[in-house]
Amino acid sequence: MAVKVRIPTPLQRLTGGKEEVQASPGKVIDIVQELDRQYPGLAERISEGGKIRRFVNIYVNEEDIRFLQAEQTEVKDGDELSIVPAIAGGKERHR
């Protein structure tokens, strides 16, 4: 088993269109770095200087990590991590 990561539409360009990818267990910020090795550019979009960007919400099993241990929250095997842009509501905007 691994951690299931849900990717929002605006970032799917980086994941080759995949809505869901896998990562190894660990701290949220380490998972972001691991994802960046698989999908270069992803970390820069959602974090800056080891912090998740303000308008990016990350949920571990439906709980906002700001109410857990933020970037240091431990994510275990079988957990689900969701990345959701705060203002876009997780949806691609219309141009």
Partner: protein, 412 residues
């Protein structure tokens, strides 16, 4: 005649062309209008503004349009009432009410933002405008959109009170009653906005729409002779209004419209049953913790406020504070406002006045400081909030004896 240079991300400062977009592609931060203040400085002055018609477009250089205003031509420039009766009751020296209960055409400050949103929607070439709302915004888009000749889609929760439905449907928009909560309606609207090329005033037009709130701030300053008040108490839902009033004060200072230095403090007012912004301010927290709203102040009931972070920053930077008040305190304040100053505010007005009273009690606001309290909507829209809470009606027979009997009972 436009003075907008670009849209700019508030977080990472990336710039975008002037388009109906609202979120940074890169970091997901909100986009904001970027003005050419140098050019504006040469175009406006207190005299130029003062000679113009008394509506919100007298500040047009500081609003994000390119051509002539196309909506809200009779909106804005509402009264700034010197509230001496109320001041005496509260032991204050200089208290003003910015009275948007008198706003034309739909009796709330939303006519300000919608005037700008609809003008911008027309400039972008949209023929259809839309919004999700439970009240004031729905009324304003329905009414102003009718006059502007736009097709309108208004999304509301199906459980909305009949009086609020009538105040929208009378303008004959396409009124869509959704089976679900307000949050469900919002989520649906962001999907609709992705699929249809419509101007959703508070989604894809939001960077432009939100600027309309600045006119409330400019009016306060102008009506005080371009002097800034020491304190401004502002109701918070999304937090956008407070952010933009603060911005308008800073712009007025930057452009030399303001006399003297800006020393105004911004105070956020919320209902205790929905106070994520007030809580973050009081706890000195960077994080706005979302809540499930439970309050009679429905027009302020946004549990996950989009501009909450920036509102808290503006409060902190200006040296202000926040207060939250119970439903009972809201009702008492609505009655106090009506019985002293003759202004019937909606529940949000009760929130700002009740919060002002608390800020006085805790010494955050001193009684001798010039203070402006923002009253943003009319009480006739939310009469059910006072059901069973008003003073007694005297019922009598149609004869003099019965009347005099009643007079005695009143102790007159």
């Amino acid at each position: 005649m436009g003075y907008v240079k670009a849209l700019k991300c508030r977080e990472c400062a990336r710039q975008y062309p002037i388009e109906p977009i609202y979120v940074c592609e890169f970091c997901f931060g909100p986009l904001e209008v970027l003005y050419d203040y140098e050019a504006i400085r040469g175009a406006v002055s207190r005299e130029v503004i003062g000679a113009r018609e008394r509506n919100l477009w007298r500040y047009r250089e500081l609003l994000p349009i390119e051509g002539q205003p196309q909506a809200g031509l009779t909106s804005g420039y509402t009264p700034l009432v010197r509230a001496d009766n109320l001041a005496r009751k509260l032991g204050m020296k200089e208290l003003y009410l910015k009275d948007d209960t008198a706003m034309h055409p739909t009796l709330s400050f939303k006519d300000r933002v919608v005037a700008v949103a609809l003008t911008k929607a027309k400039e972008f070439g949209f023929d259809t405008v839309a919004c999700a709302s439970t009240g004031n915004l729905a009324h304003s888009v329905s009414a102003q959109g009718a006059r502007a000749g736009l097709r309108r889609f208004i999304f509301i929760p199906a459980t909305l009170e009949p009086s609020k439905i009538v105040a929208s449907i009378v303008y004959e928009p396409h009124l869509i009653a959704v089976n679900g909560s307000y949050d469900d309606v919002n989520r649906l609207c962001s999907e609709v906005a992705n699929k249809y090329r419509w101007a959703f005033v508070n989604i894809n037009i939001r960077p432009f729409y939100a600027e309309g709130s600045k006119t409330l701030g400019f009016e306060i300053l102008e009506q005080l002779g371009w002097q800034a008040p020491r304190n401004v108490v502002i109701p918070c839902a999304s937090g956008s209004l407070l952010t933009k009033i603060y911005k308008s004060f800073k712009e007025a200072e930057l452009l030399g419209l303001l006399r003297g230095q800006l020393q105004s403090r911004m105070f956020a007012a919320q209902a205790t049953g929905c106070s994520p912004i007030a809580r973050a301010i009081k706890e000195h927290s960077e994080v706005i913790r979302p809540v499930k709203p439970q309050t009679i102040a429905k027009s302020l009931a946004i549990g996950n406020p989009a501009d909450g972070y920036y509102a808290a920053v503006a409060v902190r930077e200006s040296g202000g504070w926040a207060e939250d008040v119970s439903d009972q305190e809201i009702v008492e304040a609505m009655k106090l406002l009506a019985s002293t100053e003759g202004i019937f505010a909606e529940t949000a007005g009760g929130v700002t006045l009740a919060a002002t009273i608390k800020l006085l009690e805790t010494g955050r606001i001193q009684p001798d400081e010039p203070t402006v309290v923002c009253i943003t909507g009319n009480g006739l829209k939310t009469q059910e909030a006072l059901a069973g809470q008003t003073a007694q009606v005297h019922h009598i027979e149609a004869n003099l004896a019965s009347f005099e009997d009643a007079l005695k009972k009143m102790g007159r």
